[in-house]
């Protein structure tokens, strides 16, 4: 069954951002599943908007945005942690535990 488009006057709500490109970047550059969650919601934004479910599309857009930003934050935090470890190990002359 197709959801009934929301009647919000003459014009439908504008197509929300789907964060697809940003999610792809997070997937390739951060090694965690957050980017993939972002891609899942990005595809929901498109699908829901096209059947007239504008509110659902906006919810999916918010979720896509959330997961993309979480992935970005976790990835950035990971880089900072590694750099601190490298800095500490070079100060105390011990090898970093991360490299083969």
């Amino acid at each position: 069954m197709e959801p009934t488009p929301l009647q919000t006057g003459a014009m439908p709500l504008p197509r929300p951002r789907n964060w697809l490109v940003e999610s792809i970047l997070v997937t390739i550059f951060c090694c965690l599943p957050f980017g993939i969650a972002g891609i899942v919601f990005a595809s929901q934004v498109n699908a829901k908007y096209d059947v007239g479910d504008y509110q659902g599309a906006q919810r999916a857009s918010r979720d896509a945005r959330r997961w993309t930003l979480i992935g970005l934050a976790v990835g950035g935090g990971w880089v900072v942690i590694i750099l601190l470890f490298v800095l500490a190990s070079s100060i105390f002359m011990i090898p970093t535990p991360f490299w083969h």
Partner: protein, 142 residues
């Protein structure tokens, strides 16, 4: 409006300039340093925890190969990042071109449901295949 919205919805020109500066800095960093030799490039946390490869494993080595012009070597480290390059590149050029010079570059393709689903399928397939122990899939592992 949330705090991140204020940053994210900032002026397009500022975004373009910041992105260009960040790209140049990262490109320089990956040109000068080799992730295989320099000790400060972060290793993938998923790989550290599980021993498996994630869809992004090998991207840093791929970027190093790319900025030195070795396209095939880059694809050997991470095929996905090389395939994503034209997509992400087009999106960036379309964003900058339409905002700075009013060029009629549209990003409609990213809003087609089949396109996003195709990306999702490709990423998941790549994730599985590069971890399979069969020789025919070895070239996908970083």
């Amino acid at each position: 409006m949330r705090k991140t919205d204020i940053i994210l919805s900032g002026s397009p020109t500022l975004k373009i300039v910041l992105t260009a500066v960040a790209l140049a800095a990262m490109g320089g960093l990956f040109f000068v340093f080799d992730p295989l030799k320099a000790g400060f490039f972060p290793r993938c946390p998923f790989n550290m925890l599980t021993g498996l490869y994630c869809p992004g494993c090998g991207t840093q080595r791929a970027i190093h190969a790319l900025v030195h012009g070795h396209l095939l070597q880059a694809a050997g480290y991470n095929l996905l990042s090389v395939l994503a390059l034209p997509l992400v590149g087009y999106s960036a050029v379309a964003f900058a071109g339409s905002h700075l010079w009013g060029l009629p570059l549209r990003q409609d393709i990213f809003y087609r449901p089949w396109f996003a689903k195709g990306i999702l399928g490709t990423v998941l397939l790549f994730w599985v295949l590069r971890n399979l122990p069969f020789p025919c899939f070895q070239w996908m592992a970083p």
